[in-house]
């Protein structure tokens, strides 16, 4: 079981790499070095701020785009090209396929984020000449970004398991935006009444909540991230991603692969 999941995951990773996904790193490297040189010349105090804000935002956006655009094709492309037939006629359970795909893309994103993190720290070193203690919080912010990727990947996979790539992209992107405002959505829900309140609150809890995972600004301001926040964010992201994966598995298990 685990063996097959690992094989499917590594094949997914290989596919992403051969599809030149990691080329985005070049764009990222250009962005970071350009930014570092530019800020290095204009200001003294805010250079770290700008580098961290820009770097982490770019890591998050690049990764999100990759997660959505690869994630939405993970299942539907295999169905469309019928590559799935030769996989599922082997001793592979459908849920193993989904889980393997998830880990493959998640692995791709982690590797990608790792290289980008090196870029961020490189730029940071360039502008401030030395690392500070507070820079370790940047690592926490990166960790949270990776947790965010896990959720987005699982959601893209969920949509991919029943919908066309284009619609999946729309759904996944919409949820990404809504998820970034989920806290405000809960605020709205608290201001309504009766049935609306129930529905709105339910929806607000069901959509992914990314607000807590975004600590970019506070890290840029050298603020510490509490241990509880790290713990709860980890638990929440893992649980939410598992939930979306379960949904994907349930849909895929019952699907006729025409």
């Amino acid at each position: 079981m685990t063996g097959r999941i690992v094989h499917i995951a590594s094949n997914t990773f290989r596919e992403a790499v051969r599809d030149r996904v990691l080329y985005n790193l070049i764009a990222f490297a250009l962005l970071m070095s350009g930014a570092a040189i530019l800020v290095g010349q204009i200001s003294i105090e805010i250079e770290r701020l700008v580098v961290i804000n820009l770097g982490l935002t770019a890591v998050s956006l690049f990764g999100t785009v990759i997660a959505i655009f690869i994630g939405i094709g993970l299942v539907s492309k295999e169905i469309e090209r019928r590559t799935l037939y030769t996989v599922l006629s082997r001793p592979v359970r459908r849920w193993e396929f989904i889980v393997g795909k998830f880990f493959g893309l998640a692995g791709t994103l982690v590797v990608n984020a790792f290289f980008m993190a090196i870029g961020v720290f490189g730029a940071l070193l360039y502008v401030s000449r030395h690392f500070q203690r507070a820079d370790s919080w940047v690592l926490v912010a990166l960790y949270f970004i990776i947790l965010e990727f896990l959720i987005i990947t699982a959601l893209a996979l969920l949509f991919s398991s029943f919908s066309s790539p284009l619609l999946s992209a729309v759904f996944a992107f919409a949820l990404f935006v809504i998820g970034s405002f989920a806290e405000d959505l809960r605020g709205f829900a608290a201001m309504t009444h009766g049935l609306m309140r129930w529905l709105a609150t339910g929806a607000a809890y069901l959509v992914p909540n990314f607000s807590a995972l975004n600590v970019i600004s506070s890290v840029a301001h050298q603020q510490a991230v509490s241990r509880e926040l790290i713990l709860y964010n980890t638990a929440y992201a893992l649980i939410y991603a598992t939930m979306a994966l379960c949904g994907a598995v349930l849909i895929f298990e019952h699907r006729n692969l025409k």
Binding site: T192, E228, C246, L250, H254
Partner: protein
Amino acid sequence: MRPSPRITITFVLLLVLCMIGSVVFLRRLDRVRTGATLEEVLYISSPQVLKRMSLGYDGLLADIYWTRAVQYFGGKLHNRERRFDLLAPLLEITTTLDPHLLVAYEYGANFMSPKPPDGAGMPKRAIELEEFGIRNNPDQWRLYYNEGFIYYMDLKDYAGAAEAFARGSQVPNAHPYLKMLAGQMAEHAGDVQMARAIWSTTYQTTQDKSVRDNAAAHLRAIKVDEDVTALEALVARYREQTGLLPLSFSDLERAGMLRGIPVDPLGNPYRLMFDGRVEVFNPDDLPFIEKGTPPGYVAPPPKLLSSD
């Protein structure tokens, strides 16, 4: 040849567990980071920058900031905190993003102006907010009214209040009360009568249930304060006449000073204490009262938003 029921059941169970788990941890996260979002939000504290960053979706963003302002204020009020540092910036951002969001001015005044713990105690900022509203919506008489209200209630600046009411009365379709308030302001400034007139105006002219409830609570509080003052005066007179404190309101009744047992605006009888003070039946039901409470009484947070 159906999908395996064992797999289906396993994953449905896991799904349900995860749903519960995600809600649990989301609630924990909320507890860990109360206010954190807002401080974070205000890293961009310039409304102009935000407006540009909203890419034209400034109406939606204004609604979001308005929600945040309400949540922030409600949270602080609930926790009986006395500092509301972010309230003014949040409201400024909200109204800059959407200068026609009248509800923000209406509630904004209610949130910012009163002294803690009922509000943020920033009447000057509240006046600025109303002035900004008036510049952008000169035809809305309620904005002038709100401004006059703040001058009267919290700043005790009766001239300022009179001017605001007078300006408001010039607006087409302005409520006729405004003219009356402007006129009476000079004569009765500082009277309980004036306060009552203003709260009655609020009560009668608003469409909003929670604003109306708030006004009604204030009107009840004025009535209670008057009643308690009057009743305690009667007790003092009784003591002068008889040399004794009355044991109950019946004693006052027998002395011909009262007709029946007096009741508060909610219909509950007032209570005569052994030391001659008068207390209301349940002070928690009558917010904003200044008299008729037990010694050392601390009022619960006022309910400004009916949803709370």
